[in-house]
Every structure is written in structure tokens, then in C-alpha cells.
């Protein structure tokens, strides 16, 4: 076997390199450390600060043994026929209020219990929910997106309506149940910018006459940090409605369906998260604001809303 000159050169060069390197003490130490393997795929943390943007969920769950207490509030229409100074720009009314608890069973799995007023005639809502992180994004893009599954059952406790066409004309307990399933796909693009895409499926056991029991929808949301502790948040949902049923319902009620859009400001203060937001959705629960938003931004039917959350830790060590 004959040595090629190039091979020889490389060998000589590496020999030379090793000798020269040994003369620099500190660099040598750093070199000694650089041989230590770096620890695998690092998980991306804090894609979002909160479990919800405005109306829609984020991929975030509650960490193990931590409890989140959250209050959501939506006021009345700011402008339009129901708003203005007479209603003090909506502050005299509240279209929906939700009080909820969410607890982390593990860092990936959390369960929730909530009570909401309900914005339509389907009221006195009790929501049980479960949220599970299927996948977490990694910093090296080995896993490029985070996937979280959300499922909830919302039970309406309101007195059954006499009107057989009403969405609250309950005959049995089963009729009061409403299911939401969402797959939340999220990605943190930079330190300050994160997005979500949320294919959703809603099943309501009982609806108003000719309303859809099964509804698919697509949600999208984003967060852009404007400072270390403040961010602008946006979310939007498109329900895929059956057009014949939509036309019928809109004809009967004289109202139109609109896609819920929310914009807001998120402030984080170590344990507390405050949201100030504006949305045309009157309801807070998924099974209501996705299929039943009948107020429009363009008609001034958007409202001020806020949410306050506080995390408690029960970790002992």
C-alpha cells in the first residue's frame, strides 16, 4: 500500500495540531470539556405562558402537582345596538363567566374542572376536561412541533326548556352532554413567536332544531412577545358548517353566525398571568363559542374580556 500525498498531509497536519494545541493551557481545558457529549434532544419550554390564548387552548399543560386557578370574564358588546354608553360599553353586562381549576397529574397530563355561566340558552355549565402532551418540540428540531390532545365534556345544568326546538329541550341527562376533542399543534419559532393550529371536533348530544350535532372546526392562534413579560395574543376559529342548516338557522333566528376572533394582551408576573382581550365570542366554553358565535366585530359586537390565573405548587421536597 502506498500513501497518497494528501493522506500524508492530513496526518502531518493533525500531528502538528496536537502538538500546537498542548501549548495553550486554557484552550486545552476547553477542549477536554468539548469531548463531553451534549445531552440529547432538549425540550422547548414555554411555547406559551398560559394554557389558553384567548378563546382557544395552547399546547401547554400544568406541571406535576401544580394547580391552576383561573377566572375568565366576558363583558357585553362594546358598541352596536346592545352597547354604547347606556350599557357603559358593555361593562354593565357579562355574557359569560368561567371559574376553573386545572391540576397536573404528571408533567404531561392535566385534568380540569370548571363552571361557566354559558352565553346561549344552554346555561349553568360544568366542564370536566383532560389534556395530554403527546409530543414536545425539541430545540434541535428532532421533533419540530408540539402535539397536545384536549378533550372535554360539558354538562348543562339549566332547567329543561318546554320549547321542543330549543337546544335546552332536554329529555334525559345524556342530552345535556357536549363533547369537545382538539388536537393542538404548536411550534415555537423564535423566543418571542409561537403559533398553534387546532383541528377540533365538537359533538353536542342535543342541539336546537336543525343545528348540527357534529361539527368540525379549525382554530389558529399566535403569540408575539413585546417585552420579556408581555405578549400580544391572537386566536381565530373557523367552524365547517353544513350550509343548508346554517341558512335555515339564520333564517329562523334572524341572526348570523360569525367566526370567533380574539386579540389580547398577556402579562406574566411569576405565578400570575393576566389577559386583557377583545373578542366577538360571547361564550368561553369551546362547545359554545365555536358553533354559536352570533356577534360580529364589524357590527361593534365585540367585548372586553379578561382572565386571571394563579398557579399553586404542591411539590414537597
Amino acid at each position: 500500500m502506498r500513501l497518497t500525498p494528501l493522506y500524508l498531509k492530513i496526518l502531518l497536519l493533525s500531528l502538528f495540531a496536537t502538538i500546537t494545541l498542548s501549548s495553550f493551557g486554557q484552550d486545552d481545558l476547553e477542549k477536554a470539556l468539548s469531548t463531553v457529549p451534549s445531552p440529547g434532544h432538549q425540550k422547548v419550554s414555554a411555547t406559551f405562558k398560559s394554557t389558553k390564548l384567548i378563546n382557544g387552548h395552547t399546547n401547554e399543560t400544568i406541571y406535576k402537582n401544580e394547580l391552576e386557578f383561573k377566572v375568565d370574564h366576558r363583558f357585553g358588546d362594546i358598541a352596536g345596538s346592545q352597547g354604547g354608553i347606556k350599557q357603559f360599553f358593555g361593562l354593565d353586562n357579562s355574557t359569560d363567566i368561567r371559574i376553573g381549576f386545572e391540576y397536573g397529574i404528571s408533567d404531561r397530563l392535566s385534568i380540569g374542572l370548571a363552571r361557566a355561566k354559558g352565553a346561549t340558552n344552554v346555561q349553568q355549565l360544568y366542564e370536566g376536561s383532560i389534556k395530554y402532551r403527546l409530543l414536545e418540540q425539541t430545540t434541535d428540531d428532532y421533533i419540530p412541533v408540539a402535539l397536545t390532545l384536549f378533550g372535554s365534556n360539558t354538562i348543562a345544568a339549566v332547567h329543561a326548556s318546554e320549547d321542543p326546538a330549543s337546544a335546552a329541550a332536554y329529555h334525559s341527562f345524556k342530552d345535556r352532554m357536549n363533547y369537545v376533542t382538539q388536537l393542538i399543534i404548536a411550534r415555537k419559532f423564535t423566543e418571542g413567536i409561537s403559533f398553534t393550529l387546532t383541528p377540533s371536533y365538537i359533538h353536542r348530544n342535543l342541539t336546537a332544531f336543525r343545528d348540527q350535532n357534529d361539527l368540525f372546526a379549525l382554530g389558529a392562534g399566535a403569540r408575539a412577545k413585546i417585552s420579556k413579560r408581555m405578549a400580544v395574543v391572537v386566536d381565530y376559529f373557523i367552524p365547517f358548517r353544513n350550509s343548508a342548516d346554517k341558512a335555515y338557522l339564520e333564517g329562523v333566528n334572524g341572526t348570523k353566525f360569525y367566526n370567533p376572533l380574539g386579540v389580547g394582551l398577556e402579562m406574566e408576573t411569576g405565578g400570575h398571568i393576566f389577559h386583557l382581550n377583545f373578542t366577538n365570542a360571547a361564550a368561553i366554553e369551546e362547545m359554545q363559542f365555536i358553533p354559536q358565535t352570533t356577534s360580529s366585530w364589524l357590527k361593534g359586537q365585540y367585548r372586553w374580556g379578561f382572565s386571571i390565573s394563579r398557579r399553586f405548587s404542591f411539590n414537597k421536597k
Binding site: 470539556l33 419550554s45 401544580e66 405548587s313
Partner: protein, 182 residues
Amino acid sequence: MKTTYFILLISFAGLSVRAQNIIVSKNASVSFFSSTVVEDIEGKSSTANSALDLKTGKIIFKVMNTSFQFKKKLMQEHFNENYMESNTYPFSEFKGKIIDPADFSKDGNYTVSVEGTLNIHGVIKTCQSKVNLVIDKGIISAKSVFRIKIADYNIKIPSIVFKNIAESVEVRVSAIYQPKTI
């Protein structure tokens, strides 16, 4: 053929000469404590790396900021997101030198002074500390405790949590160096 072997041999010989006086610890631990009336906060990493040059007394400590573990997971998130900004500054590092080198070949318990620079959150400051060295059957372990001021490293504590986080934190480092195999 012979030449190849010869060159390879020499280059490896060169490598071993270079590495002979350097010992490494791959699972050194770094922890810090912040104690206030309101809250005690502790972050601990046991995956820090350290290298020590026995000949020159030069020493280096490097820890990945995201490797710090906290009792409260949310606190860990805040530590990386709001304070350390681990995405921009992934490592904290100490580079320095033992001023009064000990005789590393003899077993015993020594207290030496280390002087160098500490790089945290992109800010480099000089730092001096006493280090306790224990040499037992050729295995060297090092321990040190010192305090650092958070404000020195341009880490801002918002007024709302000012009472929860101490102005200066106690840092504890310890490493057991793998003995040389060559």
C-alpha cells in the same frame, strides 16, 4: 506502510502527552440557594462539566442553564425564560486558576484559593473563592461555596417578586474528577 504507523503513533503520543495532566469531571454539581423571608429557592444541576489542569492549576467549570432542576417546575420555566434567558445564554461558566497549587500526587485535604472569571447571563466578572480539595488514593474532588449578587450579572428582578428572590445567592459547586487511565 511503516511511515503511516509511525506518524499515527507519534500523533497519539502527542495526544496523550497533551491530555496527561488534565482531569475531567462529567457530572459535577452546581447548585444555588436564594433565601428570603417569603420563599426559599433552590436550583440544582448535577450534569455540570469541569476540567482541571494538574500542571498549571487551571480550572474550568461549565454548566448548562437548562439543566438546573427546581422543586417547582414553573419556577424552572421562569428561571430559564425570564431570568437566565437560557436560549440566548445557554451556559454559565467559570474559568480560573488555583493560585497556590497543591501537590496533587499526595493524598490529603487542602484548602486553596481560586481566582478567575465567572460568565453568567452574558456578563463576565472576576471571582475569587476558597476551594476545598480532597485527594484520596489519587482521586481528586473539589468543593467550593461562594456568593454572587444577581444584579451584578444584569439579571433584573421585577418589583412584584422582589421579596421572593434574594439579592445575592449562595452557589455551591462540587466535582469528583475521574482519575487518569493512561
